[in-house]
């Protein structure tokens, strides 16, 4: 076993522990790390000649945090609370041993120190950080449903006080060195060259250092009692704000609040034990596993372009074309230019193309006002966007994003004009959100070079791109499209062609269910509240209004035209048709939808709904949990169908797409994670009941799901259906 730690003692009696994990770009906290760390630290503590210890890293980061593979495996192992607590508390107690050792420990930080790495640094008596650009420190655990269980909450609390520590912990803030120094989380910032020298000097200046909380008469900054009026008020307010914002769905912020509330009333050693118990509790909760899997593991995989065909050489796009300078086209041009790509932004007339460019300008002006960007940078980015009407420019590009009106004839015309100029190896990508890709590809001269790139609005803020592979899309085309998404630093998911692809139809299933309930006389307020309570940002009725009821109506008509006798109208279409055709309610755009919109920007459910669809009596209204279940399960069934129909090959694509693209609650990890969490037997049993009560069309599960359940398969983990099929 090679050690991760290089140990030495100099003539001043200063020990250096340099973390340098062999054959790895970063130091990763696996079991070998922990064992080696303890061994090195114990050696220093046991050596009378050692006055103090400098802990530093030989890598570009201090400690990178948990090992992904270990983390992934741990999602599927059954954890015994007692054993798990022992293991976790062993590490927390060891950090406590460092601060009580009687020797001075200093962390010399020359790269990112986040999570567990920063917790080690916090247990040191000082944290000296180099002024190297981009160093971030912080405890971001809350983002994956956890809390810092190695003393992080208690040391933040004791260093900063309640009112400063809680926001940092609840938001999982990562701070640059300057902000960390201002906040009081680090001791000093020095040049990279001076880092070790200053760290050693700090030890010589502070022999046998003690943490403030281990000195007599220590008080938590701002007060140690939650009953102190200002702190009491802070807790009342924060408890409410977190209940409201998490809708009682996220256990981690709640546990962090408890760690601070209980920890401030306890001596350090007991407080650390309580913190560790809350940490274990979160680890036993499926929420953290689902969040880790989807937004840490699976998203990281997607960001590494794991679905890209391996044997195609990587392509760096230098110049692209964007056709259609509306909201989506302008957004794509903006993010491409931000990523250093030259963009020809084409529209029918120059004014429209220029207007598309001004979208980027306006967005960046706002950033300038907030000090997030410099003038020169804006000029540089805008300089890459070339508004034009001339398709001849496309001879220079390696990829074109088509973002024109959702009409086959209009698009076909654009493809024809583009084909006259485009290079043979260039990719044509449609940003359509509704029209099947394989059909569109037929109107392009080479369907193999045609693909769907479904961006989300606003493009500069939404992290997801849904890549739709048409029947004839070549591996090269897919690879180059993925390279483009990678250059934009967005997360791609790969889906196969289907009406509504994955995200649109999956999101539509929830909206359809919500709207259907209106026709049953379920209270619209209840429907909207249930969606929020489930963790969605906006209810199905409000989102229908935002998208436009007339558009939904139009899409229904289009589908009917396309599919002919195969067309099966959704259960909600009658509601939409009535509102659009008989009541001229088109949604937010004309101030009339499920809601009525007042001039002052407020909205209220349109009471006229109840004259059309009689509202059930209060006693006959379903419960909140029933409505929630219908909304969520309608999506589970659709996800199961997408998997059965091979729209989704990998559950990871569906989960990442659902959470990052269309607001599926992250605490559930996505529909496939949710089904694994609930257990397929339970999902099927509930769906069968819902199908009986409300309709086979929305709740009838595909046979393949029953087969999975019968064979005790799951979507993820050691029993994953992917491993055997």
């Amino acid at each position: 076993m090679t050690s991760y730690f290089k140990y030495s003692v100099d003539s001043d009696g200063i020990s250096s522990i340099v973390i340098d994990q062999p054959n790895s770009a970063a130091n990763v906290m696996d079991q070998q790390f922990i064992d080696g760390f303890k061994e090195a630290v114990n050696k220093a503590i046991g050596d009378d000649a050692v006055k103090g210890v400098v802990i530093s890293s030989a890598k570009t980061s201090f400690i990178a945090g948990a090992d992904l593979k270990v983390l992934e495996a741990s999602l599927y192992e059954k954890k015994d609370p007692e054993d798990y607590f022992k293991k976790c508390f062993d590490f927390s107690s060891f950090l406590r041993k460092i601060e009580l050792s009687g020797k001075t420990f200093v962390a010399a930080i020359d790269g990112a120190a986040l999570g567990g790495g920063f917790e080690i640094a916090l247990a040191c008596h000082a944290r000296i950080v180099s002024d190297k650009k981009g160093i971030m420190v912080g405890l971001p655990e809350v983002g994956v449903g956890l809390l810092p269980g190695g003393g992080g909450t208690q040391r933040y609390l004791r260093m900063l006080g309640v009112e400063k520590s809680l926001p940092l912990l609840l938001q999982g803030s990562q701070l640059n060195a300057k902000k960390a120094l201002d906040a009081g989380l680090i001791t000093q910032i020095v040049t990279s060259d001076d880092l070790l020298k200053v760290a050693k000097q700090w030890i010589l200046d502070n022999p046998a250092a003690k943490q403030p909380w281990d000195k007599e008469k220590y008080q938590i900054p701002g007060g140690s009692s939650p009953m102190q009026p200002n702190i009491a008020q802070f807790f009342v307010g924060t408890n409410a704000a977190v209940q409201a914002s998490t809708q009682h769905n996220l256990p981690a912020p709640r546990a962090i609040l408890s760690c601070i509330y209980e920890g401030m009333q306890l001596p350090m050693d007991t407080a650390l034990r309580v913190e560790c118990k809350y940490f274990v509790k979160l680890n036993l909760d499926p929420v953290s596993g689902n969040m880790i899997r989807t937004i840490f593991l699976n998203k990281s995989e997607a960001d590494k372009l794991s679905r890209r065909p391996q044997n195609v050489e990587k392509k760096k796009h230098e110049k692209i074309g964007v056709i259609g300078a509306g909201l989506m086209g302008a957004g794509v041009a903006y993010v491409a230019a931000q990523s250093g790509i030259e963009v020809f932004l084409i529209d029918r007339d120059l004014a429209a193309a220029e207007k598309g460019k001004s979208y980027a300008e306006n967005k960046m002006k706002r950033d300038l006002e907030k000090g997030r960007i410099k003038e020169e940078k804006i000029a540089e980015i805008l300089g890459r966007i070339h508004p034009t009407t001339d398709y001849a420019n496309l001879s220079q590009v390696s990829l074109v994003v088509e973002a024109v009106f959702e009409d086959r004839d209009v698009k076909a015309e654009v493809y024809k004009k583009s084909a006259e100029h485009m290079r043979k190896d260039a990719v044509m990508a449609s940003n359509t959100s509704a029209l099947p890709i394989s059909g569109l590809a037929q109107t392009y001269f080479n369907p193999a070079q045609f693909i769907g790139l479904h961006f989300f609005s606003p493009v500069e803020r939404m992290p997801l791109v849904e890549i739709i592979k048409g029947q004839q899309t070549s591996p090269e085309t897919l690879a180059y499209a993925m390279d483009f998404v990678g250059q934009l630093r967005k997360t791609p998911i790969l889906v196969n062609d289907s009406r509504g692809f994955f995200t649109s139809r999956f999101f539509g299933a929830m909206i359809n269910e919500g709207v259907t309930m209106v026709s049953e006389g379920v209270s619209p307020a209840l429907i909207e509240q249930a969606a929020k309570s489930a963790g969605m940002a906006i209810g199905p009725l409000a989102v229908s209004d935002e998208v436009g009821l007339d558009l939904a109506h139009h899409a229904g008509k289009q589908a009917q035209k396309d599919l002919g006798p195969d067309y099966k109208p959704g259960s909600s279409l009658a509601v939409i048709t009535t509102l659009v055709e008989k009541n001229e309610r088109f949604g937010r755009k004309n101030g009339k939808g499920f809601y009525e919109y007042a001039a002052d920007g407020t909205k209220a459910i349109w009471p006229g709904l109840h004259s059309i669809w009689k509202l059930k009596d209060e006693a006959a209204q379903p419960s909140l949990s029933e409505v929630k279940e219908r909304l969520l399960f309608s999506q589970l069934v659709d996800a199961a169908k997408c998997f059965a129909e091979k729209v989704i090959d990998h559950p990871a694509d569906g989960d990442v797409g659902a959470c990052l693209g269309v607001g599926f609650p992250i605490y559930l990890g996505g529909p496939y994670s949710m089904m694994d969490t609930l257990g397929l037997d339970h999902v099927i049993q509930r769906c069968d009941q819902l199908a009986k009560n409300f309709g086979e069309d929305r709740f009838g599960v595909p046979d393949s799901l029953r087969v999975m359940a019968k064979n005790k398969k799951t979507f993820y983990g050691p029993t994953s259906v992917l491993l055997t099929s």
């Binding site: 914002s245 307020a525 209220a604």
Partner: protein, 402 residues
């Protein structure tokens, strides 16, 4: 089971519960002490006959802390054989104290006792006692804690009471309280509080504004709108009441109970006590109860408490001649009158806490006394006093004149 009778009751005037209130210089122990002195002296009560004193006090910390009842009894020179205990049923503490004292007598475990309460809200502010409910994150989450004012607005929204309805009720409370004072309806029970040199510092309730109208109230801004919308309390309320599309913030300082200082005491005993003291019992306690109700809307408890007290007494709402319900918020009373079909002209006929204030620990004993005085003035037989209580409770007591 022994019968239990009310022999007498006294209350202090209610002083504005702020640093410029008339009673602010009077310590809470003095409010309790002087109340105990007066109920003893005017009944020539040999305090050896008492077997307990139970006082409500909600924020029992600081100078209201420890066991304020026992200390007040010693301070008032009561015989040292008389014990004392402090109880907290939030806003109904004063009535709960009376009920507990009555229960001892009914159970035959005491012959005479005093129930009452004290609260100096100007000196020991609300919330100074902390508590797990709002502060402990685990508890606040588990119970969907929201501020009581949001509960009041939720109640008004759910049952359709408008700002206008609530303001009209509030204006009427001031008119009635003012009328009652003018005509001396409170004279028999309200005792003057004396300062250090023995001068009367207060003899009238301080917060009544007879000139109040719906118009004058219309300028007041809703008290809980910011907290509800910005701090997230409305969202929490809607998590529990998902049929409520939007909470309307109708309550403000003018249609909610006032923050005041005050104390009250009710002398209770079995029939023999009257014989020993040579005084006549004024009313019999027919029944009493406390109940728990849904804690987020929090303030619907009184009708459930009233119903159970009525059932225990073998009565129905129609058998009650006169009602007192603590005016915590306008909507609480409006809802109760609808739920129980009680006409406004038999409810809080001399005004209530919106006009005169709500000294948390004492109010329950005060409104029971107000009820009895008015029953005597009107020569009616039965009355019911009730209060809504924090965390979703209700307390009610039915009395009957002899």
């Amino acid at each position: 089971m022994s019968e239990v009778f009310i022999y007498d009751h006294v209350r202090t005037p209610r002083g504005k519960g702020k640093s410029d209130g008339v009673l602010h210089e009077i310590t809470p122990i003095q409010l309790a002490t002087q109340t105990l002195e007066r109920v003893r002296d005017r009944n020539k009560l040999d305090t050896k006959l008492l077997e307990d004193i139970i006082f409500g006090c909600v924020v029992a910390v600081g100078e209201q802390g420890g066991n304020i009842t026992r200390i007040a009894a010693l301070n008032a020179g009561y015989d040292q054989s008389v014990p004392g205990v402090q109880v907290n049923r939030y806003c109904a503490s004063g009535l709960e104290a009376v009920n507990m004292a009555a229960a001892k007598i009914m159970a035959g475990q005491a012959d005479a006792a005093i129930g009452g309460g004290v609260e100096s809200m100007s000196r020991v502010p609300m919330g100074a006692d902390g508590g797990a409910w709002a502060l402990d994150p685990d508890v606040a989450f588990n119970t969907h804690f929201i501020m009581q004012g949001i509960s009041a607005d939720l109640l008004a929204t759910k049952y359709g009471y408008t700002r206008q309805d609530c303001d009209a009720y509030a204006a009427e409370s001031h008119r009635r309280a003012s009328h009652a004072w003018k005509n001396g309806y409170f004279d028999r029970s309200v005792i003057a509080i004396k300062d250090v040199i023995g001068l009367d510092i207060a003899s009238r309730d301080e917060t009544i504004r007879p000139e109040t109208t719906v118009d004058t109230l219309s300028a007041l801004k809703p008290s809980f709108a910011m907290m509800g919308q910005k701090a997230g309390f409305n969202t929490i309320a809607q998590q529990v009441y998902p049929l409520v599309e939007k909470i309307h913030h109708v309550h403000h300082a003018g249609n909610s109970s006032g923050i005041v200082d005050g104390a009250a005491a009710v002398l209770l005993g079995n029939r023999e006590l009257g014989d020993k003291l040579g005084i006549k019992p004024r009313a019999r306690i027919r029944s009493f109860t406390s109940i728990g109700s849904e804690p987020t809307i929090m303030l619907t408890g009184p009708s459930f408490a009233a119903e159970r007290a009525l059932k225990r007494a073998g009565m129905s709402a129609a058998d009650i001649d006169l009602w007192e319900l603590n005016e915590a918020f306008s909507a609480v009373v409006l809802r109760f009158m609808d739920a129980m079909a009680v006409p406004h002209d038999r409810m809080n006929v001399n005004g209530g806490a919106i006009a005169m204030g709500h000294p948390l620990g004492a109010t329950g004993a005060m409104i029971l006394g107000t009820l009895l005085d008015e029953m005597e003035r009107r020569q009616v037989s039965t009355g019911l006093a009730t209060l809504c209580v924090g965390a979703g409770m209700g307390t009610a007591t039915i009395i009957e004149r002899i």
